[in-house]
Symmetry: C2
Subunit: 348 residues, 2 copies
C-alpha cells in the first residue's frame, strides 16, 4: 500500500461511512497561496473574563446568572436552533396544485433540544491543556447528557460536538461544546446508519471494527492509540488533517464503555488535540463531534461510536482549505494525502 | 403558504434535488453575534494590476505570458487538481486480507481537466458591473468550453463555477471563474441525476419544470425574472441568501438555448449579482456554478440546466454563516427563511 503509484496521482476514494467520494490531488501541494490569510487567535487569555457569558458567576444575555461552577456546567442554549415544544405539522405542496401530483414542497415540524457544555471554569484552557482527570469529567457529562436525552421518547439523535476557534464559528474561546438532540435523524447520521446497517446485515460483522483492524495492521494512517481508543486519518478523509477517533471495543455509545474505556477516550482526546496544537504552533481550530447510536428504540447493533475531527487548516496557522465552488457543486477535494497527514501528526 | 404557522417555528425541509434535509430555525434570527468578523475587501481596485497573474500581458507563475486579450481568456490551470493523462488503476483492499472479504479501501485513478476563464481584461470589474454585451461574451465562452470538453469521450461532467471574494477562497479579485471536467460524475451531480431521472421516469415530466411552474404561481420565493430565466430562493435553500437560477425552457445545457435564452442568462446574472451587491453594500462573496447535463453519451432527458449561488454572508458585510459542528456532523441549519431572503433580495 505505502508505495502505491495511484496515491501520488489524482484519484478518488470512496467513503465507506457515507457512500460518497473524495477527490485527492497529491501533486498539487506545491501550489502557491495568494488568497485569504486568517487572523491568528489571541495567544494570551485571562483565566477569568468578566465579559464572558460562560465564565462562572457571570450573567448571560437573557439575564440568567451562571453558578460558581468548579468543574463542568451544562445549560439550555439561550439561542437554541431547536425547541422541545413544537406542535407537529406537515406541509406538502404538489405539482400543478393537483391532489395526485408529485410533492414538490415538503416540510415538517422538528422538535429538539440545544444545550451548552462548559468544559472548565477556566476561560483560558482547551481540552489539550486540561488534566486527564478534568477531561474525564467532561466525558462523564457527555455520557450523562446522552443518556438523559436518549430517554426522551421522541429524541432519535443526540449530537455532541465542539466548534473550536473563531475560524470554525465559535463565538467564545471559553472551552465549551454543544449538544443538539433531534426528533429526526440528521442527514449524516442517516447515511452512516445505512452503511453500517448494510454491512452488519450482509457480513454479520461491524464495518468500523473491520476497518479499524485493517488500519491497525497497515499502520500508515494511525496517528496515536492507547489501550482502548485509536485516532487515525481515515482513508477517505476530506479535510487536510481530518481524523476519526474510535474505541477498539464494539460499542454504540460512550456510555456503554467501562471506566477504562472512558478514561481511554479522555486520554486520546488530550493527546490528539495536543498534536494538532503542535502542528502549526497554534491552538488548532476544528469542529469535532460524536456519532453515537441513534436513540430511537431500535437496537442498531451495527453502530460503532466514533468521533470526527474536521480541522480547516491546510499549510500553516493562517492558511486554510476552502471547501467552495467545486467542493460545493461537485465533491470534496484535498491536496495532501491522508497518509502524509497521519505521518505529520505522528511526528509532532 | 405565505402565512403558514410552520414556517415561523423550527422545521425541516426536503431538498428535492438531493434528497437531503435542511433545518430551519426562523425564531433564531435575533441571536447576538460575538464571533468572527470578516475583513472587508478593498473597495478600490486598479483597472490593471502589474502583479496580477490574470491581467493581460502579465507573466504567470509558470513563466507563461498572458496574451493582450480584450474580451475573455481561457487557459489550463497552472496548478490543476485534475490531470488528463492519468493511467487507469484501481486499489481495493478487503477486510482481513481475505480475497472474498468486503472491500474497505477503495480508490480509482481520476482523469480531468481544469481551466481558468478570465471574464474581462479589466482587473476591477465584477459580473454585476460588466455590460450586457460583455457578460454575453462570457456566456458564449462557457457554451464553447462545455461543448469542447463534452466532446472528449471520457469526460462525464463539466462543472463551470466561480469563487468570488477572499471569503470564498478566491485567490485573486480579477473577475474569473474555473472549469473542472471529470471522468466520473461528482457526488452532487450524481444525486441530482438520480432525483431528476426518477421524477422523469415516474411522472413523465421534468422535476425542475414542475418546480419552476409552482414557484412562479406562488411568487413568494421569486427574486427576479426575465423572458427566458428566473432566479429564486429554493424552498430547501441552505445558505442564507442562496439562489437557484434556471431557464424557463426545458434544456439540459446552456448551449441548447437559442440566442434569446443566452442573452437572458447574461441579463439575469447581471441583475442577481447587482442585487447581491446592494444587499449589504459590498461586493457580495459567493460560489456559483452550473449543473449541466452529464456528458457521457446517454440522453439524460430529465436534466434541466441550472445554476446555484451559495453566498456565505448572513447579516452584514462582515458577519457570515458558519457551516460547522452541527452542520458538518448532522445537517445544514439556517435561521432566516428562504421566503424572507427572497423578499429582501426583491426589495434592493
Ligand atoms: O481558485 P483556486 O486557488 O484554484 O482554489 C479555490 O477553488 C478550488 C475549487 O473550488 C478549491 O479547491 C480551493 O480550495 C480554493 O482555494
Ligand atoms: O456556537 P453558536 O454561536 O451557537 O453557533 C455556531 O455553531 C452552530 C452549530 O454548529 C452553527 O449553526 C452556527 O453557525 C455557529 O456559528
Amino acid at each position: 500500500m505505502r508505495h502505491h503509484e495511484l496515491f501520488s496521482r489524482p484519484h478518488r476514494r470512496l467513503n465507506q461511512l457515507t457512500g460518497e467520494w473524495v477527490l485527492v490531488s497529491p501533486h498539487r501541494t506545491q501550489r502557491p497561496w495568494l488568497g485569504q490569510v486568517e487572523q491568528l487567535p489571541p495567544t494570551e487569555l485571562p483565566t477569568y473574563d468578566p465579559t464572558c457569558y460562560l465564565c462562572p458567576g457571570n450573567t448571560r444575555a437573557n439575564g440568567t446568572r451562571n453558578p460558581a461552577y468548579t468543574t463542568t456546567f451544562v445549560f439550555e442554549n439561550d439561542f437554541a436552533a431547536l425547541l422541545p415544544d413544537v406542535p407537529f405539522e406537515r406541509v406538502s405542496v404538489r405539482a400543478g396544485g393537483d391532489a395526485s401530483g408529485p410533492i414538490l414542497l415538503h416540510a415538517e415540524a422538528e422538535r429538539g433540544i440545544c444545550r451548552v457544555v462548559c468544559f472548565s471554569p477556566r476561560h483560558d484552557l482547551t481540552l489539550a491543556q486540561m488534566t486527564q482527570n478534568e477531561v474525564q469529567q467532561v466525558v462523564e457529562v457527555w455520557v450523562a447528557q446522552y443518556n438523559e436525552l436518549a430517554a426522551i421518547d421522541w429524541v432519535q439523535s443526540v449530537l455532541i460536538f465542539e466548534n473550536r476557534g473563531a475560524m470554525m464559528g465559535a463565538s467564545n474561546p471559553h472551552p465549551h461544546g454543544q449538544i443538539w438532540a433531534n426528533e429526526q435523524l440528521p442527514n449524516e447520521m442517516r447515511k452512516e446508519l445505512a452503511t453500517q446497517t448494510a454491512y452488519w446485515q450482509e457480513h454479520d460483522r461491524c464495518l468500523l471494527c473491520d476497518y479499524l483492524a485493517l488500519e491497525l495492521s497497515l499502520g500508515e494512517r494511525i496517528v496515536c492509540a492507547n489501550e482502548t481508543w485509536v485516532a487515525l486519518t481515515p482513508f477517505w478523509a476530506v479535510w487536510p488533517f481530518e481524523t476519526l477517533v474510535l474505541p477498539r471495543a464494539h460499542v454504540g455509545a460512550i456510555g456503554d464503555l467501562a471506566d477504562e474505556g472512558r478514561a481511554g477516550l479522555a486520554a486520546i482526546l488530550r493527546e490528539l488535540t495536543a498534536r494538532y496544537d503542535r502542528l502549526f504552533n497554534v491552538t488548532f481550530p476544528y469542529s469535532m463531534g460524536f456519532h453515537q447510536r441513534p436513540t430511537d428504540s431500535l437496537p442498531h447493533d451495527g453502530w460503532h461510536v466514533h468521533a470526527h475531527f474536521y480541522p480547516p487548516l491546510l499549510r500553516s496557522a493562517t492558511v486554510r482549505k476552502f471547501m467552495v465552488g467545486y467542493e460545493m457543486l461537485g465533491q470534496p477535494q484535498r491536496d495532501v494525502t491522508p497518509e502524509q497527514a497521519a505521518a505529520r501528526l505522528r511526528e509532532v
